[in-house]
């Protein structure tokens, strides 16, 4: 039921169907980012993300994952190179089928607003009618296990609950492009696994492209159609790995041989990335 409320959007296109001349949803072309203090966070980074992909970014702490994600969200501008959204040089999320939402690394809730109001913010900003907004927010809150906490203020929540509130805020948008920066890092494994599954189901049932930052290799393999391993100082793409797995993934997949194998492979890549940045 919850899933339903959050996935009223058009079903996802059949895989391989030609869509809009197959322009990538996101394209980072030779992107560089140097912060004002001189830190080079990204170097000549090239990454293209197609419609309907679920791409996870893995990489050592400080390698530029958040920077890249913010750039995809249009919140940072590259120092060189450029980013394209659906083939265009600027984001226009009013376009149907091009709605975007993002979960930041911090919960980023408004301290003066109740949880439900916080989660309804993007809908309010987009002019979604109150009643519909409330229904979507309630569904999203229940999905993340905060159904009873819509009326409290953020400071009355635990750290993990705050993070879940911010996830609910993004889900309520029913986005077509979802950028998530370590969304489940502060959650217990049980809740995390459940939300992993829910997210994967959501992704399968809708026209949804996800870019997902995580530190959990298991999570990355479980969720993704593709995993990008980044290296640090300066941030760049070290490996771009397609994940093999069934369309419908369940707990069984987590213990399957291909799963463990792919995890091991990524683990090795990641160790390389770390060694690389520690040199």
């Amino acid at each position: 039921m919850l899933m339903h409320t959050l996935s009223v959007d058009t079903a996802r296109p059949a895989p391989g169907a030609p869509c809009e001349a197959a322009l990538p949803v996101l394209l980072a072309n030779q992107v560089e980012k140097t912060y004002p203090n001189g830190t080079q966070a990204l170097q000549r980074l090239k990454l293209s993300i197609e419609r309907g992909e679920f791409v996870s970014l893995l990489g050592p702490s400080g390698c530029g994952k958040s920077t890249l994600l913010k750039m995809f969200a249009g919140l940072e501008s590259p120092s060189a190179g450029h980013v394209r959204w659906w083939g265009k040089g600027s984001l226009d999320t009013d376009q149907p089928g091009q709605r975007m939402a993002m979960v930041f690394q911090e919960a980023t809730l408004m301290p003066w607003a109740r949880v439900a109001d916080n989660a309804r913010l993007p809908l309010d900003l987009a002019g979604v009618p109150k009643a519909e907004g409330n229904a979507r927010v309630q569904a999203a809150l229940e999905l993340v296990g905060l159904g009873k906490f819509g009326g409290v203020y953020p400071r009355e929540l635990s750290g993990g609950m705050q993070m879940r509130a911010s996830i609910a805020r993004a889900l309520a948008v029913q986005p077509n492009l979802l950028l998530m920066d370590e969304p489940f890092g502060a959650l217990d494994e049980f809740t995390r696994n459940r939300l992993d599954s829910d997210l994967r189901d959501l992704w399968r049932s809708r026209d949804l492209t996800v870019v997902f930052v995580t530190h959990s290799i298991y999570e990355a393999v479980f969720l993704s159609s593709r995993v990008v391993v980044m290296g640090a100082r300066p941030g760049r793409v070290l490996a771009d790995v397609a994940i093999e797995g069934p369309e419908v993934r369940d707990e069984a997949f987590r213990t399957s041989a291909p799963f463990i194998e792919q995890c091991a492979r990524l683990s090795a890549l990641l160790a390389e990335a770390n060694a690389d940045s520690a040199h």
Partner: protein, 267 residues
Amino acid sequence: MENSARPLLADPRFQRIAAPLFVGLVLLALWQLLCVTLKVPTYLVPTPLDIGRTLVADGPMLFAALLVTLKITFLSFALAVLLGVIAAFLFVQSRVIEASLFPYAILLQVTPVVAVAPLIIIWVSNTTLALTICATLVAIFPIISNTVLGLRSVNPGLLNLFRLNRASRWQTLLRLRIPSALPYFFGGLRIASGLALIGAVVAEFVAGTGGTGAGLAYQILQAGFQLNIPRLFAALFLIALTGVLLFSLMAALARVSLGHWHESEQG
């Protein structure tokens, strides 16, 4: 260590009222004692009892004057808040607008009322309006300054959230900048409420007509000319009391608006 059946003395609400009253009583007693033992003449510094007697004796007259001053105070305070907030909204739209116009807001603050009152009197024949304008000039700057500061003191993460969701300038102002600015804004209100009061008094000094319908400033001036110092102090006492009440009102407003989320109102 919390205790639901807290004794009255430890209740913060009780303290907030009792403590200043207690301090006030002690100070008044000390004052009375000093005046009596040092035989300070009444015309130099009257004793609290003298002032109290005058307050009672001249009560109706002083109270009528107080009402006149209060009217100007409230009108100018309302105007200062309204215009100050609008100006702050304008300034915060861009650094260039702020840089271009802020210096001219400072003019409002640093121009002596005495110097501009004659011009205002020429253009505005209604005395109440003229006084209100003068007092507004005195009170408006802290509102502008603190509100601008508050509107700028926005959590960068939340600002990103709003940008991400393509919030319009107006939406960002309404739903992000204004709530973030509230603690600063209320700080501005606290300062401006007192300034509106003192502005009303100063305006009356300079541009009031005097005579029958005059405010407390007139009473103070006349009492000064006539060396009726107890009455002067009684009038000052009324002004001070009004100031404290206004301040408490602003503090209460801040508590109601911010108590549930901002740290300045906690603990």
